[in-house]
Amino acid sequence: MSNRRAGANRIRGPHSALTDFLAANNISAAQIRDDYERRQREAERDRNAGEGSAHQEQKDSSDDEDAALAQAAAEEASKKAKKRKRGEKEVIEKIKKAKAAEKAKGSKKGKKKPKRGESDEEDDDDYDDALARNMYKKAKPPPGQFEHCEICSKRFTVTPYSKDGPDGGLVCTPCGKELTKEAKAEQRAATKKPVGRKRRKVESDRLDGLTHLGSKSLQQLCIEKVAQHHNQIDSLGDLPGSVYERLSQIFSKKRVMNPKTLPVFLRPDLDKIAIDDAAYLEVDDYKQIFAVVPHVEHIVLRNACQFKDEVVEYMLEKCDNIKHLQLYAANLVTNPMWQELFRQAGPRLETIQLQWLDAAFDDDTVQDIVEHCANLKRLKLKLCRRITEETVKLIPRLARLVHLSLQVSKHQEVGSESLVSLVTTNGPNLQTLSLEHFVDADDSVVDAIHYHCIQLKKLRISENDYITDAAYEALFTEWQNPPLIFVDFNSTRCLEENEPAQAIGLASKSFAALMNHSGSALKHLDIASCRHISKACFMEIFDGATQYPDLEYINISFCNSVETTIVAGIFKSCPALKQLVAFGCFDVTHVVVPRGIALIGMPTAQDAIEQYGMGIGVEEAIGRMVAVTG
């Protein structure tokens, strides 16, 4: 019975050759096992230290226990077959729970502590079996060892920073990075947008004049959603033209007006095509527009950089209904082509609006306009670099002109006489006159306006430091013209620092005369940089008693004499006010904005750059302001 020894009733599995060898050489398997487990514990401790002590906090200890149990069970699986089978089922459930818990928390904090505790309990089990199984088991190697990545099976060195794979093993660094990226993406999808971006969007909407109080209109919400999913839209169906225009504005603003999204806006029965940013569109796209919508009457293409000669040809061929043409930045069209355009389409054209033309389009082209476009009612030529005084002399020949807007390049000198003759000839018909940046214009021009313009609704003379206050005053005194609706005299002031001997630009007397003449019907008032208007004048005009019932927009930027009481007066005098722009008015502080008014441009850091009136009425707002300023 030499085979029987003490403890022989213990069932022993097959011994490997290694075990036999070790036993033969007096190397204790138990001791090896102890060493091994000690190394495990040390490795975990190191990893724990690497993560930082903060992770030691256990918020959901029960979940951690489950997770720990699951991990322990998974890695040092049960020794006996029965236990293993039961354990497997439990383990699978617990692994699922553990994965869910882990994903939510995203850290391995819970696992370590109890796992160490768990491993101590294994001491009671069969040593040999445990050792055999542990040696076969894929256990976590300590740092410094080589290990195969769970995901890509590549060999890599275990470090304290090695991430855990989905099945409990370790993954190599690149796979680990991917795992963290995925985890972060999930987190980001769950959290809200960063605060900064939202605030910018809100303020951008406000500056666009969209309603700040209350909710957006349903149309606006739908249009925004369409713009968001612009990739998936094929066609817009039977919506009215105004919706198309709104949508094209939003697409242009978001810079998604491109060859792919353009077909959405083309419908054969439209009579107006308006694209605010056609920068992405190429020659073929323009041709497509004219092919699909041949009966178009009104064309607005801004930033039409790729609008070339061949497009103009195609347009002339296909479309014979064009009445209103607005082309901004169409710099690739050559002079002969402009000529051809005006020659063929000229008689029909009622509106020509061209801006930003540097490469071509000079006085000869304007000559063609004047010759062929006899029916022209609306002309706008701004920022066309090659136009000179000759153009100004040619325009009087357009007898039917009703709306005129001119701005020549600052390098061109345009004398007053040409302007005077222009005003004299066209004046009686003009409803809009906009002369921007004519620095050499003098009092005679304004006199001419006084004598000849009797139907003006919109008047703009800006960026001029020559015309005197007296001339403007004479303009508005006893003027036959009915009250103006839109007035813009920005930057009419003396450019030198010291006060001039004679008041230049729109100053106190002329401003008073202006408000006297047009106050009853005025909607839009822009007197930015008219710094010669005195405080007394402002106080007198916006005294709270005189009412300006239609005034909706006022721009008093850089009028240094404006202060808080004047702003209060404006609020009181202008019941219909929607927007007050006051950049650079440093004496305006502590403004309480009444309901429905947007105040833009406050200088102090404490006040927001735009302030929107909340639910208070004008009276209360003024009362509060007076209380603050004393």
């Binding site: 809100v202 700040h212 109080l213 209350g214 909710s215 957006k216 209109s217 349903l218 149309q219 919400l221 739908c222 249009i223 925004e224 959603k225 369409v226 999913h229 998936q232 817009l236 169906g237 039977d238 919506l239 009215p240 919706v243 929107y612 909340m614 639910g615």
Partner: protein, 100 residues
């Protein structure tokens, strides 16, 4: 001739009836005019408006918008109303018709 009741009925093209408050429905100028007793329309007499061009799913969202809009009348920075993208174009057409 029923007196102006607090609630009105909106009927979709596929015969779904939605009962909403009169004040909310009148956010739409079109509906308001239809329900105005002074104008003497049939809708005003029966307190019911039928929409033959708007189907039930869209009309439901429209009613939701009525309440959302009335609730947030004087609030600032209101969150946008959520709706499924598939509904978007039809909702836009309905919104344009109702002028809301």
């Amino acid at each position: 001739m029923a007196a102006t009741s607090d609630y009105v009925t909106l009927v979709s093209s596929d015969d779904y009836h939605f009962v909403v408050q009169r004040s909310s429905a009148c956010i739409s100028p079109a509906v308001k005019r239809m329900l105005d007793p002074m104008n003497g329309f049939l809708e005003a007499k029966t307190n019911t408006v039928r929409f033959d061009t708007i189907n039930a799913m869209v009309l439901e969202k429209v009613c939701e918008y009525f309440y959302y809009s009335e609730k947030n009348e004087s609030a600032r920075d209101v969150a946008d109303l959520d709706f499924p993208t598939e509904l978007c174009l039809e909702l836009l057409m309905a919104a344009d018709y109702l002028d809301i």
